[in-house]
Structures are given as C-alpha cells and as structure tokens.
C-alpha cells in the first residue's frame, strides 16, 4: 500500500537517527525512513551525524557535551525538518541545548533556529504531516509506554496513541501507570542498576497485567531497558519502536 500525501510532497526531512538506533537498532531507522517515504516526504540522512551529546550532558560533562552539540548544530544547519526516532534525543536538541548554551547568546540563536524544526517521529507525523492512518497493519494487542522525555518535556501523549490505534489489526490496550518511568534514565541504569531494575519491575508488571503482546514506545532507551527484561525473563511480549509498528504490513 502506498499513500501519497499531497501536503507532505514538498516537505524535506533530515533523519536524525541517533547513535543508539544507528549502531544497535538500525531497523528502527529503516522503518522510519520507509514510513516517511510512503507519505511522500523527501528524506535525507546527513552522514556526518553521530551523537547529540546527551550522555555527556546528563553525566555532568558539559564541556564535552558542548563540543558534540556544536558539531550537531553544524551538521543539521541546512533547511528542512529534523526528525528523530527518540523523544529523549529530540529533548536534548530542543530543550537541553538551551540549558547548555544559556550564557552564549550566539549559540542560543543557532539553537533556537534549529530547535523549532526538530521533531520526534510520532509528533512529526501527527502534528506536522497531519496524518493518522499511515497504511500499516499489524495483528496484535498493543500497549504503549510513555517515555519520560517525550511525555514530560515535549508533551507528546496523544500522538503516538492516535497512530497506534489507526494501525489495521491492532487492538490497543492502555496499561496502568503507562506514564511512570521504566527506570532507564541513561547512565542511571548502570550507576544504580538495582534501583533501576526495581523500578523496571513495576513497569513489567503493568505490561503483563495489560494482557498486551506488544509493547510500543518512542525511545530505544526505554525499549532497551524494558525489552532487556522481557527477554531475560522469557515474557512473551515484544518490545517495538513505534516506527517499526507503523512500517509493518506492507
């Protein structure tokens, strides 16, 4: 099935796939590309991109984060939208870069220009491309985990749910406490692994209780955390990025 959205034909998108997706989950990047293409968007991948600097920023290494942030800003300096399969990395660019360069007026102007055209994938589809049904089909009971940065920094809540519900064959189940953290928190997950996993335990309980067979989210950090426990504990629930769900069934 191929949907050509007239409105999206002139839209140009640069993929900001994130280092995590590039190295560990390339299929997520490919899925995102497929969905955008199917919607008729012109897609590009600036090949110089690596990491936005968030791990350094979150760990307190601001100078190192600044170096990578500047690098990011120069790579994505061209026009068009920047779309990322991560609410967290989008938050880094849209929210934390301002924090990082709060005392540097020149950089702040650059950040402002860039952050207004940077979007997380699901909000881009719903709020910019104005699509709901992207022509995907998937047979399963799907529940959604709100990634913290997507939810509380970018206020993305309805967008992914709308997209999921409009996938043909999907039975959407809202799990309890979908908006509670999974315990990942970047380096927090290895700095305090036992605390991190004890928070994760509650998330896993919620997922099992929902009766879903597929867990969808907008961030590979959370999905790595949740998925890592699902496979370790032999729980028959598949952890899946929303881009993968939206690319399925073609």
């Amino acid at each position: 099935m191929y949907i050509l959205n007239e409105a999206s034909k002139k839209i140009k998108v640069s993929l900001f796939v994130t280092c995590l997706v590039d190295i560990l989950f390339p299929q997520v990047g490919v899925s995102m590309f497929k969905v955008l293409k199917r919607l008729g968007v012109e897609v590009d991948f600036p090949e110089e991109q690596t990491c936005c600097g968030q791990p350094a920023f979150n760990s307190g290494f601001r100078q190192d984060a600044k170096v990578l942030a500047k690098r990011f800003l120069s790579i994505f300096s061209e026009d068009g939208f920047i779309v990322s399969p991560s609410g967290s990395c989008t938050t880094m660019v849209r929210v934390f870069y301002k924090e990082l360069f709060h005392d540097d007026q020149k950089m702040l102007e650059m950040v402002d220009l860039l952050s207004t055209r940077t979007y997380e994938f699901s909000e881009f589809l719903v709020n910019v491309l104005k699509v709901g049904d992207v022509g995907a089909s998937y047979k399963g009971k799907v529940t959604y985990h709100d990634s913290c940065h997507a939810l509380r920094e970018l206020r993305i809540q309805d967008e992914p749910r709308k997209l999921i519900k409009l996938v043909k064959g999907v039975e959407f189940i809202e799990m309890k406490l979908s908006d509670v953290c999974c315990g990942f928190g970047g380096t927090f997950s290895v700095k305090f692994p036992d605390v991190s996993v004890s928070i994760l335990d509650e998330k896993i309980e919620s997922i099992i209780e929902s009766g879903a067979d597929t867990l969808v989210s907008t961030d590979m950090g959370c999905l790595m955390q949740i998925g890592g426990a699902l496979t370790r504990r032999n729980i028959p629930v598949k952890a899946m990025h929303i881009a993968e769900l939206l690319a399925s069934g073609q």
Binding site: V17, C19, V21, D22, I23, L24, P26, G29, V30, F33, K37, V43, F45, E47, E48, T50, C51, G53, P55, A56, F57, N58, S59, G60, F61, D64, L68, R71, F96, E99, H102, C148, H149, L151, R152, V180, C181, G183, F184, G185, G186, F188, S189, V190, K191, F192, P193, D194, V195, S196, S198, I199, L200, E202, Q225, G227, G228, A229, T231, R232
Partner: protein, 473 residues
C-alpha cells in the same frame, strides 16, 4: 553536621532488600498518589495557582533581605523577639539559651524539618532537657530513635505492625494493631507532656512579612497545643519561609495542603502573631522567632539553582518519584529525602558531602510536574551533576575522564565512530546468545546482570542507508 557523608548506593541496596520497607512504601505511596491527584484534579484553578505561587516565590527570594527585615520589625512590633542564626550550631545555641534563661526542664515539639536539620533534640537533651515530639509520626520516630524518612509522613517506612511492636517495646502497652487504638495511646501519653512542658518548639510553614505572623499547618492539633500551652514558644524557620503579604496565604495554603495530604484544607491552620496579649486567655508569655540561614544564602548566590529555595516542603515530589518509592527516605542520608533532598542536601551540606545524590534520579521529570511552586528539579539536578564532575575533591576520577574523552573523540569523527561500531560487532561475539548479550564483563555487567543487552548490528543504519536511499531514489 561535618561528619555526614551520604552513601546512596549502600543505603539504597539495604532499602531494596528490606521487604517490610518495600511493602510499607508501596502501600502508602500508591494510596497517596490517588488522593493527591484527586485533590488537584477537582480544583480547576490548579495550574493558575501554581503559577501564582511560583511568581510570589520568585519575587520574594529576589527581595529576600527586604522581606526578612520587614518580618523582623513586625514580629517585634507584635511583642515577639527575633534571633538570627547563621548556621545549625548558632541556632541550637540560641534555642538552648532561651531554654536556660527560663529554667526549662521539658520541651514539647511540633513537626519541623528545620529542627531536624539542626539536630535540636540532640542539643537540648545534651543539656539535660527532656524533649518530646508530639506529631504522631515524629513521636513514633522518636520512640524508634530514628530519623524521619518523609517530609510530611515521617514514619512512612513503618508498617502498622512495626508501630504496634514498637509501642509494646517502648511504652509497655499490650499489642494493639488498630490505628485508632495506637493513636489513643499516643494521645494519652502526650497530653500530660503538653501540660508539663515549659517550652514549645515549632517550625514555620509561612512567615508573613507585613504582619509578623507565622503560619503553621497541621492535622493533629499538636502544633496548636505546642504553641499555646507552654510558657515560652520558640519557632524556627529557614530564611526562605518568608512571604510578603497576608493575602498571599490563600495561594500558598491551597497549593501546600492539596500537594501535601490531598486535603482541601488541613484540620488546623494556626496564625500566630507575637505572644499572649493581655486580653488573651491562652498563649505563651514569650514568643521567639529564630531565623536561620544554614547554607541557604549560599544557594541564593547561585542563579542556576536558586529555585531550590522556593520549596514549601509539601512532599509531593517524594510521593511521585519512582526512585523514592523504591529506596525510601533514609537512603538519601540526611533530613531531606527524595527529589527535593537530592537537590538541597548537596547544596546545604556541600557538594562533597553528597556527590551521589544529584545522580540518584532517572530524570523522569514527574517531580517537576507535581511541584506546587514549579521547581524544575531535573534541571537543578543536571546543573549539580556538572558541579560534582568539576569538583576537585569528589569529581570525576582519571579513568572516568579518560573514558568520556575517548567516547567524545569517537563521536567527533565519523570514521572512528564507524570503526568503533564495527569493532564492537566483532568483539561482542563471545557473549552473544540468540542475538543478545546476556552476561558481559564488568563494567557492562552492571547492565547484563538483570537485563539482556542488544547486540551491535552487523550493518549499521548508515551502511544500510546507501542501499535504501538508492532503492527509493
């Protein structure tokens, strides 16, 4: 206070293993989260009110010196005495002096985090003065010889059974398990303490500059008794507790009480302006207000983290925090637990005393969303993390710095980045099971001990890009 060194990793490991604690926290927190969210949902003006509370705090903290002087003048005008304490030691000495001057043998206390902060009970007891905590939770904690583990619910870490056993052991009562029975016992014990006390010590929820009034919010009536029955009343407050006008109170009482207990209004709200007047039937002969800095002006001097002083000690961030829910209050190592503790403990004690605390958060941001004065706790945590890292005493060690530099160097250069990802693909092979990494060596074992780690992909996205781009193009 100098010898405090918070060890969050060790404390939290103990807490996670304590099944009793896990049960107590789980029950209390789940229940409270519902209550609070209802109290906020039913109140349409909530967001507007939060914004107002925030604005008033911003304004007051920017003009703190003016309002503190105004408060002092008005307390004196109402017949009270004002004392200024620069640190915990001074605050204790001032209160001890007042006690000695009045030949005080026994003190009743209502709930106050500031007195916990200065370890007042220790000082008073050291001078041979009997001190009795009269808030039920604090009373329990005092019997158990522990520290509160929550700002509002000090004994939240205890189950009903714990308390029943504690009463049997310390008060030699039969084993009662009903909250009503336990409360009745405490009430009987405390009643005589109130009547015998020479001095009452309280905290301060708000101090109104324009009238010199201190406001105390509570549910048990013990603060009302503490501040009216004994001859002398001493109230201790941090410098940030002042608010400008009486008409600011509805805003603050609304946001504080709904956030703290999910009530519309607490059972008691006491407005105290000076000591007993001639026409009054009840009240103390003397009223002393001790205004304490104890590290707060240091926070004031940092613009990036100044908002830490806006806190009205409602405890909502503790209840909502997924980390607090698992590790409890004692893991935070000092008097202020949870997200607010993670930001003010390192600032009040010095960052070298609690360098782990700013990292003891998944930065999920739930605290920021519930905070009634909209403190951006994650932002302050991030700022403090960078202060820890650049601190020479406790900052990053050589190995950590080297690792970060190496990582940055890799991320700065696409070729090295590609090479590193390719290399990882080959290096990981001995640990691969069903396409996942299940038991990596240290330090990666910190992940794989309880979770699988995804394997590095054979063909990265950027490599696949070359093919898919052409296919579609």
């Amino acid at each position: 206070m100098e010898d405090i060194k918070v060890n969050f990793e060790k404390n939290s490991a103990t807490a996670l293993k304590d099944q009793n604690l896990q049960r107590a926290l789980n029950n209390a927190i789940n229940q409270f989260r519902n209550v609070r969210s209802r109290a906020v949902r039913e109140f349409e003006e909530w967001e507007h009110l939060r914004a107002s509370a925030r604005k008033i705090k911003e304004w007051t903290i920017e003009h703190l010196d003016d309002y503190l002087e105004m408060l002092e003048a008005n307390v004196i005008k109402a017949g009270g005495t004002v004392h200024w304490a620069s640190d915990a030691k001074e605050a204790c000495e001032i209160i001890l002096d007042i006690a000695k001057k009045h030949n005080v043998k026994s003190v009743v206390k209502s709930k106050s985090m500031a007195t916990e902060e200065i370890e007042l009970n220790h000082s008073l007891e050291g001078a041979g003065i009997k001190v009795v905590e009269t808030d039920l939770g604090e009373y329990i904690i005092q019997l158990a010889n522990e520290r509160p583990s929550h700002i509002i619910a000090p004994a939240i870490h205890k189950t009903r059974d714990d308390i029943s056993k504690l009463f049997v052991e310390k008060l030699h009562t039969p084993y009662y398990n009903e909250p009503e029975q336990l409360t009745k016992i405490a009430r009987e014990k405390l009643r005589s303490e109130f009547l015998n006390a020479d001095m009452g010590v309280s905290g301060v929820n708000f101090a109104v500059a324009e009238t010199g009034t201190i406001v105390i919010v509570e549910n048990e009536g013990n603060a009302r008794l503490t501040t009216t029955v004994p001859r002398v009343h001493v109230a201790l407050m941090g410098i940030e507790k002042v608010i400008p006008r009486f008409e600011d109170l509805p805003t603050f009482l609304n946001v504080l009480i709904r956030s703290a207990t999910g009530q519309k209004l607490s059972t008691y709200v006491s407005f105290i302006t000076g000591p007993k007047r001639n026409s009054d039937v009840d009240g103390p002969d003397e009223f002393h207000l001790v205004i304490m800095d104890n590290g707060r002006s240091k926070i004031l001097s940092h613009e990036e983290t100044r908002e830490s002083l806006y806190c009205i000690r409602c405890g909502a961030c503790l209840y909502i925090c997924p980390v607090y829910k698992k590790v409890g209050g004692h893991s935070y190592g000092w008097v202020y637990p949870g997200p607010i503790g993670a930001i003010i403990t390192p600032q009040l004690l010095g960052i070298d005393k609690a360098p782990e605390l700013p990292f003891a958060s998944s930065l999920c941001g739930a605290c920021k969303d519930v905070c009634p004065v909209k403190i951006d706790i994650p932002k302050v945590l991030l700022e403090l993390r960078s202060r820890v890292i650049s601190d020479r005493r406790v900052g990053a060690g050589f190995l950590q710095r080297f690792a970060v530099k190496l990582w940055r160097f890799t991320m700065e250069n696409k070729r090295i980045y590609n090479f590193a990802s390719q290399l990882s693909y080959f290096v990981q092979k001995p640990w691969m099971r069903h396409g996942r990494l299940t038991s990596l060596p240290f330090p990666f074992s910190r992940w794989t001990k309880k979770r699988d780690f995804p394997a590095v992909a054979k063909t990265s996205f950027r490599k696949q890009w070359k093919e898919i781009k052409d296919l579609e193009g």
